[in-house]
Symmetry: C2
Subunit: 219 residues, 2 copies
């Protein structure tokens, strides 16, 4: 576990918990580390929602596939970030989404029961953990608002521009990389891939953006 110290220290879930306490706690919570190859499923839609996941290395994607086979990507999760916490905490029976590893990844899994129901009152870090979980969920809610702000736009161009502006703000620079290839970006924005390619081409020709592969720049 020690080798994950840096990643775990950056995890919002463990804010204000000392490194010493952290390892004791992880033991008490029954945290385990599992490795996944690229494109392997971490949680399948419909499976029980019992575990919280934390990305130790690599990255993951949350997505849904509807009746007609259309994939919609909900979010991209990087190192130190938490996922599936909402499903576990809300104590719903089945996962409404799928989670896959985007690349070879190490994932920490914690049974949410151990966070919510065990030694509820006593030990100090449980209280802190719940508090951190609450904050994390609040931030996640805001991220969803942002995603909805992007996808609620009516045209591919507006969705794309709104997305790029958020990414630029997040990177604190007009120049940044995005974590998606074209098909994934289309599935995140809920638009057609070829139409998205056309729109990127237009914005380049109009001198509004510059782009090469996953790198974008707002001009």
């Amino acid at each position: 576990m020690k080798k994950y110290l840096d990643v775990l220290k950056n995890c919002k879930l463990f804010e204000n918990i000392s490194a010493d306490d952290l390892f004791v706690m992880l033991g008490c919570l029954g945290a385990k580390v599992v490795s996944f190859d690229k494109k392997y499923t971490i949680f399948a839609e419909g499976s029980p929602a019992r575990h919280i996941g934390i990305v130790l290395s690599g990255s993951a994607q949350i997505y849904q596939v509807d009746y007609y086979g259309n994939r919609s990507i909900l979010s991209e999760i990087g190192p130190s970030e938490v996922f599936a916490e909402a499903f576990a905490c809300a104590e719903i029976t089945a996962m409404p989404v799928s989670v896959i590893a985007n690349e070879p990844s190490e994932i920490m899994l914690i049974d949410c029961d151990h966070i919510l129901h065990t030694c509820k009152n006593n030990c100090g870090f449980h209280q802190q953990l719940i508090f951190n979980l609450m904050k994390d969920l609040a931030v996640k809610t805001i991220l969803f608002h942002q995603k909805i702000e992007i996808t609620s736009k009516r045209s591919t161009r507006e969705k794309l521009l709104a997305y790029l502006m958020f990414q630029s703000k997040k990177a604190n620079s007009p120049s940044f990389d995005i974590p998606f290839d074209r098909q994934e970006l289309a599935d995140y924005l809920d638009v057609d891939r070829s139409g998205l390619s056309v729109e990127i081409g237009k914005l380049k020709k109009e001198g509004i953006i510059d782009n090469r592969k996953n790198h974008f720049e707002l001009l």
Copy 2:
């Protein structure tokens, strides 16, 4: 405050807190009740996000308006439900959305600071409150997933059908009322109002749904 007992008891935020404790706590939290006329703004986009709101009577709508004036409705909030908790708990400075009263409404406002930062360790109900808040946020996240599942569909018809199916499931009946007029439903689904009317007409003609005003039935 006593007259609001029933509504407050149904509020998830106060689950597992006795009525007696509740009123003591509301005093300690500095909860206040404010009335709003129909269409009046409860929280304006850009204003400080300090308060959590609870609908005591009436209802509220959360929405965003973009650069071009397009309104997108995020959710409809009814009695006993909490709103704006994510913004207050994430301690962001400005509200990214607006909240208006949908009808004459009474709203309880609680300064989130009092929940998060005051007497953090001691009194029992604070702990319970944080726990309840965490659960509430987890449920909210799932509701957002559902909204995204609906709006990620590519066509008006599919969005409408997905929405109606969720409403039917929520009502536990194929026959139910929706809380939106046509323009509001269009703004919730992020589609054109007239196109939505056409689609409702088609589904009726095809015998897939029945509808009169806000009442719908899946056949």
